[in-house]
Amino acid sequence: MSQPLRLDPIACTGHGLCAELFPERIWLDDWGYPVIEAGELTPELDEHARRAEASCPALALRLQRDR
């Protein structure tokens, strides 16, 4: 899957925990909101992606399960 991490831009309020936990693929823009780069996830990256998903206080980040 080319973009397994989906962000709900309406729920996102720019807490930024996702970027702290998954800097390989997520970085914050000028206003503190996450930019999520596309790309498949290796098993190693998958672990970080799951932690990022679990850490979001706004439940805005979702990892697609059928990836």
């Binding site: 930024g16 925990l17 850490s55 206080p57 439940l59």
Partner: protein, 237 residues
């Protein structure tokens, strides 16, 4: 002789319930402070957001664990007539019903907080957030429970712990209120005034309440237990 009448395991339970209760209060205070810091979005290079968030979640689990021991030992202990259901149903116990009841209420709230957090993705953000506001009610009720039922309430070290807990929460809330920009001035003032009022209320109430003599009876300790303790204290002096 009277000492022997109390089984040694019962005393152990009684000491355990008191100590785990104190630790649970400290941990609960820490959870509240971490939660307030989390929602204030404070962070630095050395202390990123996810640390606050993860600590908040983990310490809350630890607090519940200590609370579990606190409740279990209180129930198992035969000294005070506290039953299993008194842990979740308030005001029905024959031991200090009001103050123990506060503990039950606080525990119920904590259960709601924990279960809603475990199933957060199922219930959705809005419901979870609404339930999480209970934390601001849970903590002061827990403090009142400790002051009302605590056997160590008159001890200096316990009062210091209580004091530090209250001051920490007031400090955290004051910090949050000063940082937030999306809230009206009135809400900000009320936000700081409430914990401060709680603390002042305690200062007014304590000297005539738990710290005064005869509190055990006034709080609802069954008469024969008071007689027991008086005898025990006389025996150990």
């Amino acid at each position: 002789m009277i000492l022997a009448a109390l089984s040694s395991s019962s005393t152990t339970y009684w000491y355990l319930t008191r100590s785990t209760g104190a630790v649970a209060l400290i941990l609960l205070t820490l959870v509240v402070v971490l939660g307030v810091i989390d929602v204030s979005r404070l962070s630095s290079g050395f202390w990123p957001r996810f640390v606050t968030d993860t600590l908040h979640r983990r310490v809350s689990l630890l607090a519940v664990a200590f609370l579990g021991v606190h409740i279990l030992t209180a129930v198992l202990d035969t000294y005070a007539p506290i039953g299993f259901w008194d842990a979740v149903i308030p005001f029905h116990s024959s031991y200090r019903p009001l103050w123990l009841g506060f503990g039950a209420i606080a525990f119920d709230m904590l259960l709601a907080l924990m279960i809603s957090s475990i199933f957060r993705s199922r219930i959705g953000q809005r419901s979870w957030r609404a339930i999480h506001w209970l934390a601001y009610a849970c903590w002061p009720i827990a403090v009142l429970h400790g002051l009302g039922t605590g056997s160590d309430v008159k001890q200096v070290w316990m009062l210091v712990i209580d004091g530090l807990c209250v001051v920490s929460v007031i400090g955290a809330v004051a910090l949050r209120m000063s940082l937030t920009v999306t809230v009206t001035r009135a809400v900000r003032v009320i936000g700081i005034a409430m914990p401060v009022a709680f603390a002042l209320g305690l200062l007014v109430w304590l000297p005539g309440g738990p710290l005064a003599s005869g509190w055990a009876a006034r709080a609802g300790t069954p008469a024969k237990l008071i007689a027991h303790r008086v005898t025990t204290e006389a025996a150990t002096r």
